[in-house]
Symmetry: C2
Subunit: 442 residues, 2 copies
């Protein structure tokens, strides 16, 4: 296929994509196929001679679509959101065409530099402490990872390397393997399974901190403090704590304002995994959930979940870039270049031009547009809904104000109210809410 044909096929593909996304809610969200369904639909070997493009396109509906779980269907409530926006898709098209591999500054300066600046933009949207912003002279900064799992592992490895260095500095004769076998890392028993896996990969002990329903499944400072003391008494070396802001099962928030100072005092690396919830911190009303970030060594969340930047784009910031670079540094001659020691950048192995889609999305939505997307609704919409409800005169409620939000308050008041009245009221509320939503500009 040459450029001329690509011009035609590419435009057809743009229409196919727009058609798919415009009509996605008509497809069954979860496919009705059995394992192995696909193998029987296509040949057992690649063709010797090329197929026609028409045949390939026909097979998208015949072979692929029947087996797709449609993550962007409005009926998809499983797992977690995965971002999908038109500006990000346009940026990805461009990124694919440029097709550079950004494993060093010289391998494509624009790729490294745009990533550094976009991470600053996003860090400022989140009001991260100045320490995490690269700027022109900062020691910290951000780097894009593929997933939060990767970021958790990278942070753990950097923490392991820092711990070993600190111990060797005071006891240079101690064998390194002897240190590693004493290291102990912590996370909530509610943490994502990738945290435990990071411990397995790095070959270090990983302990789960128990949480209680009565504490809303949040790790408490006191529990961590006790475990650290017990482990130190047993001769172990606590070195890493992965806090979660927004756990997978119940969106629980560990108490990092309590936990952070403990980690700092014990020289334990505190990593914060806010994979899912982190996007919300761009709204001032949700930003308090991130209080305590000032005690962290590293922080990560996934714009590819809830900030309209298509997968993959997992953003990670560290207080000291040198901690990360030092843990992985390799300098083969074939990667050396004139600006090797500018020290301004991460050694971003295997980076695609992923910052392009951040740039497109941030500019095409603007901060306000992104905040609106997180909020998905506004005080005005809720006020309209309340008016409709009360104007209908079938049921009656009053609003309240919570942290700047206009909230509809539903109180069960009358002695005569039964379940059936509440069910009826709920049906009316949802019906009116739907009408209000449908009248909104898209």
């Amino acid at each position: 296929m040459e450029a001329a044909e690509f011009r035609r096929r590419g435009k057809e593909m743009v229409d196919l994509i727009a058609d798919y996304l415009e009509n996605i809610e008509q497809r069954p969200v979860y496919p009705d196929v059995e394992p192995g369904y696909l193998r029987s639909l296509i040949p057992e070997e690649a063709p010797e001679e090329p197929d026609t493009y028409e045949d390939v396109v026909k097979d998208i509906e015949r072979v692929i679509m029947p087996g797709v779980t449609h993550w962007h269907s409005p009926y998809f409530y499983a797992y977690f959101p995965t971002a999908n926006s038109f500006p990000a898709m346009l940026a990805d098209m461009l990124s694919g065409a440029i097709g550079c591999i950004g494993f060093s500054w010289a391998a494509s300066p624009a790729c490294t530099e745009l990533e550094t600046v976009m991470m600053d933009w996003l860090g400022k949207m989140l009001k991260l402490p100045e320490d995490f912003i690269a700027g022109t002279h900062g020691q910290g900064g951000g780097v894009i990872q593929g997933t939060a799992s990767e970021a958790t592992l990278v942070a753990l490895l950097a923490a392991r390397s820092r711990a070993v260095r600190m111990i060797l500095a005071s006891d240079p004769q101690r064998p390194e393997t002897g240190i590693t076998s004493k290291l102990v890392a912590y996370s909530s028993d509610q943490a994502h399974c990738s945290v435990e896996r990071a411990g397995m990969i790095a070959g270090v002990r990983m302990k789960k901190i128990p949480t209680e329903q009565s504490d809303k499944y949040a790790v408490q400072g006191e529990t961590l403090r006790r475990m650290i003391q017990e482990d130190k008494a047993a001769g172990l070396i606590p070195f890493y704590f992965c806090a979660t802001l927004g756990t997978t099962p119940s969106c629980a928030f560990d108490h990092i304002t309590e936990l952070g100072p403990i980690c700092n005092a014990e020289k334990i690396w505190m990593h914060i995994d806010a994979a899912y919830a982190g996007s919300s911190f761009i709204c001032p009303e949700f930003r308090p959930l991130l209080n305590g970030i000032e005690f962290a060594d590293s922080f990560n969340f996934n714009p590819h979940k809830w900030l309209l930047v298509n997968f993959d784009c997992s953003t990670m910031w560290v207080r000291k870039r040198s901690d990360l670079i030092g843990a992985f540094k390799m300098d083969p001659l074939y990667l050396k270049h004139d600006h090797q020691e500018s020290g301004r950048y991460f050694y971003t192995d295997n980076s695609l031009f992923r910052s392009l889609k951040m740039w497109f999305v941030f500019r095409m939505y603007g901060l306000k547009g992104l905040q609106d997307y997180i909020r998905k609704g506004s005080n005005e919409v809720n006020e309209t809904l309340l008016k409709r409800i009360n104007n209908g005169r079938k049921i009656h409620l009053v609003p309240c104000q919570l942290s700047g939000q206009f909230v509809l308050r539903f109180a069960v008041c009358a002695r005569t109210t039964e379940s059936r009245h509440i069910r009826e009221a709920w049906r009316l509320i949802t019906q009116l809410a739907e009408e209000v939503m449908q009248e909104l500009p898209h």
Copy 2:
């Protein structure tokens, strides 16, 4: 941006991409910018209100292009090739729109299944031993990784897990950290730096096997055998050897037909890293370079380097899927589904729909088209060139046949030949070769 605008902007982007790639050789291949160039060209923060799309597109030439190293310029001879083809780009557009996250079969069956079948297609193109093909009943099979570095690490972790299990089976009381600290892995001193890094990440000893220029920088069986014996005598446990087929500095090939039986006898996991050279094995005349694969536990190469499938697509096969699955298995409730134990698939964490681009590329080129791309030229072209050279009657040479290839043979014969004659002959040959190439259908 809504679907209607995406239809328009997407088509403009298709043209922008086609224009970029058709005219790429007119751009300077390596950018003339200093570190930090980009920061001053754009604002310090994301806009509050959206920018216009026109402004974003204008900034591609103003901000991005001046800092791009153009990997697809015909003047780019640095690092290694990175694949870029129109069918792969079309598939990536579709993959971005479907935007599913394939971390389990249920998360998108088509994603997992197409990957398994495409890995079989490619394995058959390479004539891999039957053990590496999943089929409907095989124990082995292929899985897509992001990079060869990732595959090297994954293989090393699976090997570590297997070694620990084997030792614990015979000595259940031995502490696991005591085992890890005795493990030793090997690779060539010519191996890619990521192999050493894999050892650092996994926290195991990694030894470099010395190679000699006189052996064309290939690891010899005798050297490995000696190191294993010395290490075992010192109480260490050899468990992993990463062989390279096509090293980064000089494209050297380790002697896997000698090394494989040693690894098998010592129960050492042999991983083969053919990141760059592996694509060539689809041509029968290059397939002998892969002889010895029958002794390997795992094998990896990068279609995203030399097989026209855009980054990322690093293909890895293992003899026993259970070795890989066992090393990383985590079963949180939120990832359970009805077909959990079908056992047919890898647990492919974080997989995008990367197999789509393999499918598009394999079908749009066909095996023959891919082989032609690897060969980049044919016997016919070489014959035409020889005819032109000899018809010109300025210089004279004769051909020979080497492994089925028509080769132009240049012998310095006459007593009177000086350097200047050879330089002149070379100029003529390259000039005629260029003419022949330009007359070829693109």
